[in-house]
């Protein structure tokens, strides 16, 4: 593979994908709060869209239940809505629409309808927005049948992922991450990333595996994470390479439902697994991953699966507090050291 041209940023990749989806699909409709130009959305993912497609981009009142609910109605009647919830925290207001409407109709009408809906929303903290603008509330939707949760890390082609989600016949909650927006996508073996591979899970969504060592070697530790956690994991690649610590990072994009096979393969490579999620760990994604790995690998795991995430409290606004409540590169580093020290 030739050396890639400088990659797009995460936000630019999403922005271009949205425009391409709208251009290619006359049934695509975008709606959300404050998305019209010149403002173009709180995080600028929709910038330019209303100028180019004024008849299919709708600014809504502050009414998250209706943003999702109207999208469901559009989807039932033949459109392909892509809704934006300005902050992921507000998706709690749309939960009834996602759980009891979008995810219910196809199955409870015995397959007679589809709800091809994408709800995009930025999750995550680190910007000092405080308790109601910093959460990772996708956790509320893990395991909801017939609702897909797709999370883009910056090790994924975020725009391509959005296009996959838009083409999915099932409703999708598309999880973006605020701190990833300005980052350049990292999509190849480049710099500290010595090998980079993408496979598809059984739902057809990409799973990225990246290592800080040449492909032939065996990793010391497997880090399984999703979405914004790529920002914390990638800096360890360079640091660890100089210390002979071989890391395999595995980032699925379809985080619920979860295909355990690619994760188990990544986990079996080292037998030592750390699962990182931005939200609190209790009853979380890491617990599901751990359960799946125990079932798939059993004694092949050399140590108990480690789960890392936020402290079990609100995400504080003060930087001194937020930095410590949220999981960090330092916390992941220490967990790797501890795992290698003991097993």
């Amino acid at each position: 593979m030739t050396r890639a041209t400088p990659h797009l940023t995460y936000v630019e990749s999403l922005r271009r994908a949205l425009a391409e989806i709208m251009a290619d699909d006359p049934r695509a409709v975008v709606l959300g709060e404050d998305i019209l130009d010149p403002y173009g959305g709180a995080f600028k993912v929709t910038q330019g869209l209303s100028t180019r497609f004024p008849e299919r981009v709708f600014a809504t009142p502050i009414a998250e239940a209706s943003i999702v609910g109207v999208s469901v109605g559009l989807a039932l009647r033949g459109f392909h809505p892509i809704a934006e919830i300005m902050f992921g925290d507000f998706i709690a207001l749309g939960a009834d629409q996602l759980i009891n409407h979008a995810a219910k109709y196809p199955a409870m009408y015995n397959g007679a309808v589809q709800v091809p809906l994408v709800v995009r929303t930025p999750m995550g903290g680190g910007r000092g927005y405080g308790p109601t603008h910093s959460q990772s509330l996708e956790r509320l939707f893990f395991g909801i049948p017939h609702l897909k949760l797709i999370a883009a890390s910056h090790l994924h082609d975020a725009g391509a992922l959005l296009k996959l989600a838009a083409a999915d016949p099932e409703p999708v909650l598309f999880v973006e991450n605020k701190l990833l927006y300005p980052l350049a996508l990292h999509l190849s073996a480049d710099g500290a990333v010595r090998s980079f591979a993408t496979t598809l899970d059984r739902f057809g969504y990409p799973v990225t595996t990246a290592t800080n060592y040449p492909a032939a070697q065996i990793p010391d530790v497997t880090v399984i994470a999703y979405g914004g956690m790529s920002r914390l994991v990638l800096p360890l690649f360079d640091e660890f390479a100089g210390e002979e610590i071989r890391v395999l990072a595995c980032f699925p994009s379809c985080i619920s439902p979860l295909d355990p096979a690619p994760l188990a393969e990544a986990a079996a490579a080292s037998g030592r697994v750390i699962v990182v999620e931005e939200s609190q760990t209790a009853f979380g994604w890491g617990a599901e991953v751990a359960a799946q790995l125990y079932a798939a690998l059993g004694a092949q795991l050399h140590a108990p699966v480690q789960r890392l995430g936020a402290a079990p409290t609100v995400i504080p606004a003060a930087k001194s507090l937020e930095d410590q409540v949220l999981v960090s590169t330092a916390v992941i580093r220490d967990a790797v050291f501890e795992l290698l020290r003991s097993t």
Binding site: V72, R77, K104, Y109
Partner: protein, 309 residues
């Protein structure tokens, strides 16, 4: 003097009434698994409104109490009976049951008010498609407690959508009278959103039909929402046998039963013939549904409920 639509409307209302009574019987016999919400006493709203629609293109959203809307819309009593009996031949394969029905352009769901923004989205879709179709959403007085209904009134007016809100006010949210749930007058709700409305008592299906035709025509020609408030009464319990209302109150409303009121305008022989045909049809529908195999997990998985573990 017999109205030209009286025979048709009587046949539909009587079919709804007898079907729902049959559901109570089947429930008592242990054949129906779960619950049944009936609209006995409210048949004039369903028949009056649905017959004002263009069934080939208009879209209906309704709630947990939708048997009447369903039958008035598609007449598929056989599919409905099989659905409530959990049979593979049910209109939703036995998955949805009484509260979750879909056929053609009709959609119902069991969460109060949740479907209203879906109706807004559908109205936006029909507007974007320039299909000329309108969307009707049926609400109950109880539903008017949900915030998302008011978001929907706002959006429908703001975006000028072809959406007809039909409020079937039967005075009770399950067991609680509306005076304990709502401040002010429900009929005034659309006014601040600049949505026009009509209010009438739904004892006379022909009057309901006239009002509905006017409402539908208004929505279709203006492309704007409209609000039709129908004061009605549920003569049967909310579901199964949970009724706390006084016998005096019930008796007063039974005397105003819209079905009996319409029946009185028909010749006895004509009515008897219609009734006999309904009985025969329902008997056959029940026998046919009971003879069907119960829905299987295999076909559920192959159709809507497929999952990958």
């Amino acid at each position: 003097m017999e109205h030209p639509l009286a025979e048709l409307f009587y046949a539909q209302m009587a079919l709804i009434r007898r079907t729902e009574q049959t559901f109570f019987d089947l429930y008592a016999q242990g054949q129906i698994h779960g619950t049944v919400h009936t609209s006995i006493g409210q048949e004039a709203t369903a028949v009056g409104v649905v017959n004002a629609l263009d069934r080939t293109r208009d879209v209906i959203f309704s709630s947990h109490r939708a048997h009447g809307h369903f039958i008035a819309y598609c007449d598929d009593v056989e599919g409905l009976v099989a659905e409530l009996l959990g049979r593979a031949g049910g209109v939703c394969g036995g998955v949805g049951g009484t509260q979750h029905l879909h056929t053609g352009n009709l959609y119902t769901n069991g969460v109060q008010g949740g479907i209203v923004p879906n109706a807004v989205g559908a109205a936006l879709a029909e507007k974007l498609k320039q299909s000329g179709a309108i969307v009707v959403v049926f609400l109950g007085d109880g539903t008017m407690g949900q915030g998302v209904v008011y978001e929907s009134l706002n959006l429908a007016s703001l975006w000028a959508l072809p959406l007809l809100f039909v409020l079937e006010d039967n005075q009770y949210a399950q067991s609680t009278h509306k005076q304990f749930e709502h401040a002010g007058n429900l009929a005034d709700r659309p006014t601040p959103f600049q949505i026009d409305r009509t209010e009438l008592t739904a004892d006379d299906v022909l009057a309901v039909h006239d009002a509905a035709r006017h409402a539908v025509a208004t929505v279709r020609t203006t492309g704007r929402p409209y609000f039709l408030m129908l004061n009605t009464y549920r003569l049967a319990p909310h579901s199964k046998g949970d009724d706390m209302r006084s016998e005096e109150e019930l008796a007063a409303y039974r005397a105003r039963d819209p079905l009996q009121r319409l029946a009185a305008t028909l010749p006895e022989a004509k009515r008897a013939a219609i009734d006999a045909a309904i009985e025969a049809r329902l008997d056959a529908a029940v026998v046919q549904a009971l003879a069907m195999p119960p829905q299987t997990l295999v076909s559920f998985r192959q159709q809507g409920g497929g999952w990958q573990r």
